[in-house]
């Protein structure tokens, strides 16, 4: 489903070249729940940005659903993002000026769904995350956990092929984080592929496969990671 082969990403300024990813290779099958962990600056977010088509890669190939992504125009990349990928961000990234209903509606409008279809999708996805009664509320009126659930509803409303979660519990307390991870498990159980980027090994343990990234490459990781990974896979 997702196949990166020798992907590199170099950030250049006038004087500095930063290699964020170096010949990074990864393949994720449909229905997998994969965690990507690693220390700060290891290239996790760059991987996420490239996987989510938020940034272009410098070299290598990236296939999504068998389609080479690297040659797509900006408009086509937007379309793929909108139709195939659902994003869950660490800081929720809800639009504060819009109520919950309108927030979930944002990607659906870009998709071009008709109003009745959008309404149904919004209601269903908010129902799934248990916030159907809060449609008229604004993000500021919700707790962090509730906001992340709205973000999940927004990501799921368009029925994407896979979810990219960037530190989804990073801004949540333990109880809320558990709720969100339970929700992700449920979503994955329904067949949605999930890639979760996190720096917490305990969270990575919830995934079915763990990838450790160091210096822009897939690495074996530290012993505790290997233990966790073995547990996750087992």
């Amino acid at each position: 489903m997702l196949k990166m082969t020798k992907v590199s990403k170099i950030y250049r300024t006038d004087t500095v070249e930063t290699h964020a990813l170096r010949e990074f290779s990864l393949e994720v099958q449909e229905g997998e729940f994969v965690s990507v962990t690693g220390p700060s600056g290891s290239g996790k977010t760059t991987f996420l940005n490239i996987a989510g088509l938020l940034e272009e890669l410098t070299s290598g190939t990236y296939e999504l659903d068998g389609r080479d992504i690297s040659a797509l125009s900006d408009r086509e990349r937007s379309k793929v993002r909108n139709e195939k990928i659902g994003f869950i961000f660490q800081s929720f990234n809800l639009i504060p000026e819009l109520n919950i209903f309108d927030n979930v509606d944002v990607p659906l409008r870009y998709r071009g769904f008709a109003a009745p279809d959008r309404r149904k999708r919004i209601e269903n996805s908010l129902e799934m995350v248990g916030l159907a009664s809060r449609m008229e509320h604004y993000p500021a009126q919700l707790s962090g956990g509730q906001q992340q659930r709205v973000a999940i509803a927004r990501a799921l409303a368009g029925e994407p092929r896979f979810l990219l979660a960037d530190e989804p519990t990073g801004n949540l307390d333990t109880e809320m984080a558990t709720n969100v991870l339970d929700l992700l498990d449920e979503i994955n159980g329904n067949g949605t592929t999930i890639i979760m980027v996190t720096h917490e090994l305990t969270l990575a343990d919830r995934a079915k496969r763990n990838i450790f990234v160091r210096d822009g490459r897939v690495s074996d990781g530290p012993p505790e990671f290997r233990l966790a990974a073995a547990g996750g896979q087992g």
Binding site: N49, L54, R81, R111
Partner: protein, 403 residues
């Protein structure tokens, strides 16, 4: 189209948008009324005087030696001017259209005191006036030479016949449907005057007078030391003839001063100088207001792009194309402009009604309002396009940065 969410989003951040809407409303109200004033002035400036202006010039002669035979001098001057090659005709007159100075009288349809009268400018001249001015006689006949009389300074004698402008005849005899020729009116409350001819157009000297279209030719010559001559030349000959006439008159009699030689083009220019300046000034103000409003929109849109950088990145991450980001700002501007334009239209009409009542202005033409709407919407859309494009270039990757 994201009208609903954009409107709800605007209503969450009212202050900046309301200020811009207010600016648009004020600009619209001022712009519409400025354009209405400009239109009125331009309309006034475009009114025909009735004269063959491109081929006419005027000059004055002031005799400074006491006891001169002015009647003989005037006849000699006119004879000399008319003989000059390229001259069609010439007259002596007290004034002419657009000169901004002259005489007027009140005329009534019945003799006696306390009767309503209608004012008209009076041009004391002779049977050459129609040809010299290039007037179009639409009814009756020109003066016969023997109808023309001399009057001395201070005399209150009045001619028995006149040739009037159609506008004056219509104002004095509003119910008359047939000919105005032969109609009798009264001047100085008692002296009968008969209309013997009607010209299509003959303006009074005062361009700002509300009766500017009411004027008449009176077959009386005045033997004052100061004389004003009006000369009409063949087409294209005016500028050649002018210095010749000036020289010939100066040479023919050295006991007077020839001065104030002006073409009718110059007279018109001077008459409408203030109006012309007013139009330019209002055009400048309208342009300035549009620029300021445009800059205000650019400023607000730029501020919003900066303020919403992350939000725009999130939208891009969620699948918005660059075009959709640009369109978002355009729709947002359209809504703010619509609010300002709606309020501005009401303000503009109210201000216009106030000006119509206070300054006797003509009501504005209805089509100025929709034109102003289109102009302001266009200014708004043009102003927002730069910041909107800048917004569309925001990377979607910003969504994954912490903040």
């Amino acid at each position: 189209m994201e009208l609903g969410p954009i409107w709800r989003s605007l209503s969450k951040n009212k202050a900046g948008f309301l200020l811009i809407a207010l600016q648009i409303a004020v600009t619209m109200a001022i712009m519409i009324n400025a354009v209405a004033i400009m239109q009125e002035r331009a309309r006034d400036m475009g009114r025909p005087s009735g004269l063959d202006e491109p081929n006419i010039f005027a000059l004055s002669s002031t005799a400074f030696v006491p006891g001169m035979n002015m009647r003989a001098l005037i006849d000699e001057d006119l004879e000399l001017i008319r003989r000059t090659p390229g001259v069609i005709d010439a007259i002596a007159t007290n004034s002419f259209p657009l000169r901004q100075g002259g005489s007027s009288r009140g005329f009534q349809t019945e003799p006696g005191t306390g009767k309503d009268d209608v004012g008209a400018a009076v041009y004391f001249t002779d049977e050459h006036a129609i040809e010299t001015f290039g007037l179009m006689l639409v009814e009756g006949s020109n003066f016969a030479p023997n109808e023309v009389t001399w009057t001395e300074e201070g005399s209150d004698a009045w001619a028995g016949t006149v040739i009037v402008s159609r506008a004056f005849a219509e104002a004095l005899f509003p119910d008359e449907e047939g000919s105005y020729v032969g109609k009798t009116m009264y001047v100085d409350q008692a002296k009968p005057v008969q209309i013997t001819g009607v010209v299509e157009t003959l303006q009074a000297p005062w361009k700002g007078w509300d009766g500017v279209e009411r004027a008449m030719l009176v077959p009386q010559r005045r033997d004052f030391n100061f004389q004003r001559y009006v000369v009409r030349t063949e087409p294209g000959m005016r500028d050649v003839v002018m210095p010749q006439v000036e020289e010939a008159l100066a040479q023919s009699n050295r006991n007077r001063i020839i001065q104030s030689m002006r073409t009718m083009d110059e007279v018109r220019y001077m008459a409408y100088l203030g109006d012309s300046a007013m139009i330019k000034m209002l055009a400048f103000i309208v342009t300035l207001l549009l620029v300021i409003t445009g800059l205000g929109i650019v400023g607000l849109a730029s501020f919003n792009v900066s303020r919403r950088t992350r939000q725009i990145g999130i939208r891009r991450a969620l699948g918005a194309t660059k075009t959709q980001v640009v369109r978002y700002f355009q729709v947002e501007n359209f809504l703010v402009s619509a609010l300002g334009i709606g309020v501005g239209a009401v303000l503009a009409v109210a201000l216009n009604m106030l000006m119509v009542n206070a300054f006797s202005m003509a009501p504005m033409a209805w089509y100025i309002v929709p034109i102003a709407m289109v102009v302001l919407w266009s200014v708004g859309q043009a102003a927002v396009i730069g910041p909107a494009r800048r917004a569309s270039r925001i990377s979607p990757a910003i969504a994954t940065r912490s903040g």
